[in-house]
Amino acid sequence: MKGFIKILEVVLSLLLIFGILPFFTSFSKSNDEWNNALLSLSLRDILISLDKSGILKSYIVSGNLEGLKNYISSLLPGNVMIEIYVNGIPKNVIKIGCNCTLEEKIRLERSLGIYFPEDYTFSLRGKIVRFEFLNTNEIEKMGDADVIIFFGCRDLSKYLNYLNEGKAFIMIGNDICEEKIFNITLKDGLVSSYSQINSNSLEPFRIGEYFIDVPIRIYNNSNFWVKEMSHSLYVCIDNNSLPCIRIDNLPEEYHIGDTITIDETRIKIKDIDADESDGRVFSDISIIDRNYNFYLPNPYPGIEENEKTILKTLNGFSFAQCNYFITQHGNGRAVWIKDFGEERKDFGQLLKSIILWASEERFETQKQKINKNFIEIYYIVSGVFESEPYLIRLIAFYIY
């Protein structure tokens, strides 16, 4: 019995002694942390240097993320692996599935300023973006689409896998349905006819950033809207043989780059094509005021404003709602917007910016197995003139 107690004492002592040992063996961990800290410093240096030298932008704009990964890897030791993710870039080609009748498809195209095949392409922040409509109107066959658009209500319960795949739904209409997906709630009360882009919440704010940059095409002798009034646009050639436009038959001539103020709203002229040889004479213009007032004469029913409201009235109602992080994996975007009518080019400009936001690229390099002890770097490239803001997430780890 006495021997047993002594052995028990020894075992307890050993347990105590070996329990203390980990405190003496923490140096290898400290070394790992130093290695990771130095790697993190190197990666941040590389991203800043690439950004300042313009190399980063050229890779991102061309969508060549594998090239960027190889470039960064060539600067790092051979035992470091990296993964790159980029958020916040509109795609160069946006595939649109229109789950609609032929008449509705034409309405949608007119809203977006599309009258000729060339109008599917437009310039945004120094790069060319193209809308590509899928050759089907059946939602079941829209697996390739980035954005699926429809007028009025649809039962989307069978198509929730599309959200998981990162696609977006855009519903245009005044009916209320699929409230959860589109984040809409009915609200009683008198709805104001004027609404503005919500700048108090990040994603609506980002849609607003697209709105002031995206052009809408107005053909010669046709109308565009500013608030509740429509105005006519005429393409002309001035005395110096430069293309110009005139508004509402007034004598003033405006040129590319000019900003016109109509009804306290600033409108920028981004392009003018006065060449009649191809039968297309037009001007690309943009409303560039963030606090532009969208007018809707009969804004019923009333939808309650919340943090995901894109267009909000002064009395707490919404004309357009967005939703994001819909699925459990954080994918999927959805937008509901009231039907303003295809003649409303201000609405068309907003719809274009909503499509850009909804289809935004979530670039990532080819995935490989990531080591448990990885480091994560975030680098934000803030938007400057003719360039867009985007976020780079870089994951790095030692393979041995």
């Binding site: 006495k2 021997g3 002592s13 050993l14 203390i20 130095l38 190197s42 240096d45 590389i46 800043i48």
Partner: protein, 158 residues
């Protein structure tokens, strides 16, 4: 019973002595490692501070292109953009010039540095410093731009 007690006692004492020896050995070894680790950390901190000067500081005078006139060390034109003139001025520095830079950096006497700036393909663009074969070196690697191209700044501290 008596014999049984003795065996228990001998076993317990043996185990206890082995544990004491093991702990003493571990503590001694770690004390040595700790000293070495502290030394490395100091070198890393010095290296990091110097690398910050290289990347962010223009030096004084701001447009210096000769070590003769240099009063404050720094190799940049603006943050992350290095000056070709300054890089050339320190290339293949003499022992005297090395000491001048070391003095401007207030580097402790017992420490030395080795600065090697290379391009993306590890071809040396500029080199300045001392090499010691027997002393342990700690490397800090930074990146910056020189003439529109990314360059590696390898700074070793002895």
């Amino acid at each position: 019973m008596k014999a049984q007690l003795n065996i228990d006692f001998i076993l317990a004492v043996t185990l206890f002595i082995i544990s004491i020896l093991f702990v003493s050995y571990t503590v001694m070894q770690n004390a040595f490692l700790l000293r070495s680790e502290i030394d490395k950390e100091q070198k890393r901190l010095i290296g990091y501070a110097i690398s910050q000067l290289i990347i962010f500081d223009k030096g004084y005078p701001e447009d210096w292109n000769s070590l003769y006139s240099l009063q404050k060390f720094g190799l940049s034109l603006s943050p992350y953009i290095l000056s070709r003139n300054k890089i050339n001025a320190i290339n293949n520095c003499s022992y005297e010039n090395y000491n001048k830079i070391k003095n401007l950096l207030s580097l402790p006497t017992e420490n030395d540095f080795l600065l090697i700036i290379t391009n993306q393909y590890d071809e040396t663009i500029s080199k300045c410093g001392l090499e010691h074969k027997l002393r342990e070196i700690v490397w800090i690697r930074r990146f910056a731009i020189l003439d529109g191209n990314i360059v590696k700044i390898n700074l070793g501290i002895y």
